[in-house]
Each structure stands twice: as C-alpha cells, then as structure tokens.
C-alpha cells in the first residue's frame, strides 16, 4: 500500500522509525510545530526548532527518499506567555519561504484560556496575510469539546480564511460533526490510550465519509505508534474494504488537502 502520514513529530522519533514507515509504504510525512514536553526558555529555542523542521529533518528523511514537510507556529501550551509568543510569531514569516513549509500549525487551544485565544487569533491573521493553509490542534480530553467549538467559530468568523483550507485535527465522535458542518477538514489521531482507536476512526469514516477526513499517528515523545496509520489500513482490510477505498483514505484524501499548498509536491 501507499500512504501519507499527515501528522508526525519526527524530531522526537528515531531514524529506525523512518525506516519502518518507508518500508510500510509511506510516501510523505508532515510535521507540525508542537510543544517539546518542556517550555523553551526564549524565542531562540524556537528559532533553532524552526531550522530543525525546515532544514535538518527534511534532510534526515531524504536519506530514505521520504519527502518531509512542516507546519510552523508557537503551540498553545506555550502561548500563555504573550511576550514570548509574540517574539516567536515575529520569527515565522522568514521561514514561510522554505520549500517544505505547508502552512501555519498546529495552532489552537490547550486549556481554552484568554491568552491562548489571543495568540490563536494572531496565528489566523498571519495565515490570512500570507495565504497559508491552517492546521489546528484541538484540546485534550475534557477540554476538547469546548475548545473545538471556540476554534471553529473563531476561524469561521474570519472571512479571509476559506474553510476548505483549514484542517481541524484530533476530532472525536463528539466534535467531528461540528467540523464537517463548518466545511473544514478533520483529522483523526490514532493513539493507544486517548483520542481514537482505528475501529472508532473507521466508524467515523462510515458516518461522515472519507472526502474530508484523514487519519494520523501524531507520533511524538509520548505513548504513540509511528505505524498507526498502516495498522488502521489493515483494520479497514479486516472490515472488508478493498484496495481502492484504502488508497482513497490513506493517500488520496490527505493528498487532496495538502496539495492546496504549492510546496506539497510528491
């Protein structure tokens, strides 16, 4: 099979993971900027991280002929400090010209706080001014429902942003309809302990269709599985899906969203 991994934090993974993914049929990997598991002490830490996402990581993936793309932002977990967040926002434009950058992400909310919302608004403005795609992280667990609605409502209220250029990630059964009804795309994250399992992801596709829903592993430094996407393809096969539908879900759908960026060439 061939597939696209639309959300993976490869800076936290080993080279062996690249080998496994390519062996399983991965044709492109996309890496949103995120929280490192600890707070950076200054904007210089983000400058280095953006260089890693736009220079070093694509080179590491290229050793296995795997195209690597990235999304840039300051994540909502580090957005409570408005001064730091503004410094990081000011760094982003110079990196938007890098050839592997797809857009602004993963932006969003974490605890649904006022400062997080202020920084989210600034990211949406940045995306609008630079005509960038948007990738959104929705909050965890008990905070997801409220946060998803706040994020979708904010983006919908900005007439400069076309909903079909926005992907709302980490949807679950209580948020997926809100995203689909808004005309945006949705991402289902396959995690062993939270977010969704592959049987639940397939249930959601059976209800809402595969045109605007993709699956990702969101593998990072936490409990996560870099091959979660091809495992979900195997689960679809067990459910009786044919090769053509599996290719649509795991390759064509993410391709259709991502190729709205002129930089996404595979």
């Amino acid at each position: 099979m061939r597939y696209i991994e639309p959300h993976a934090h490869m800076v936290s993974r080993t080279t062996d993971d690249y080998v496994s993914m390519v062996t399983a049929g991965c044709k492109a990997v996309c890496e949103p900027a995120f929280w490192a598991g600890f707070d950076r002490s200054s904007s210089k830490g983000f400058y280095d991280y953006f260089r890693q996402l736009t220079e070093y990581e694509p080179a590491r993936a290229a050793k296995f002929q795997l195209p690597h793309f990235s999304w840039l932002c300051i994540n909502p977990k580090e957005s409570e400090d408005l001064a730091l967040a503004q410094e990081v926002l000011d760094l982003i434009p110079e990196f938007l010209d890098k050839p592997n950058v797809l857009g602004i992400g993963e932006i969003g909310l974490n605890k649904n706080s006022r400062n997080e919302m202020t920084i989210l608004e600034k990211h949406v403005d940045l995306a609008a001014k630079h005509n960038q795609l948007i990738l959104v992280h929705t909050p965890h667990l008990e905070d997801k429902l409220k946060g998803t609605k706040l994020i979708v409502d904010l983006i919908k209220s900005d007439s400069r942003i076309a909903p079909n250029r926005v992907l709302i990630d980490h949807v679950e059964e209580h948020t997926v309809k809100y995203v689909m009804d808004a005309g945006m795309w949705g991402g289902i994250t396959l995690y062993p302990e939270s977010k969704a399992t592959s049987p639940r992801a397939i249930d959601m596709l059976e209800t809402y269709g595969a045109d605007r829903l993709w699956m990702n592993s969101a593998c990072d430094w936490g409990i996560s599985v870099p091959l979660a996407v091809p495992y979900a393809a195997m689960e679809m096969r067990r459910r009786g899906y044919d090769d053509e539908t599996i290719d649509q879900v795991f390759f064509q759908t993410p391709y259709n969203f991502l190729s709205q960026s002129p930089n996404f060439k595979i």
Partner: protein, 91 residues
Amino acid sequence: MKPATPQNVVDLYFMDARSKLIDIAAFMDRVENAGLKDDFRYQAFLNALKELGEGERTKSVLESLSDPTKELIPEATTKAACGAWPGMDSL
C-alpha cells in the same frame, strides 16, 4: 463509506469488547476496594456509564466527560487535562 465485502462486526470485535468490559468491572472493584469512590474522576466515570443505554453512545460518553462551559478561562494554570471535568460538583 461502506466496505465492499462487509464482515460481521460481532465476530470481529466481541472478544476485544468483552475483555474491555471485564477490565472496566475490575477497575471499579479496585477503586471501591481502595476506598476511592469519591474521587471526582470516578464519579464522572459512573455518570458516563449511564450513557451506554442507547443512542449515540460514544458521543454521549465523551460529552458527559467534557467541560460543559462556554467561556474562556482567565488563565491556564496547568497544561494537563485529566479526562474528567473537575467543575461538575459546582454545577
């Protein structure tokens, strides 16, 4: 979206769901034997179990474990989420 050759989902998933159901029972026994029944997360868990009767169960369980408020909070004092909304008692 539907499979070309639909498989029997009870055949596919019964043993897995049976195993998880027994794990839930064992978790409840463990919590209650430890005298931790009053933990707000366990109370939220018991509330969520009531959503298993009928309708869109997955959505209802997730909603029952969610923060039902609509306003932004003044400040994020933690980064973590715990899986149940701590404010349920004050509603």
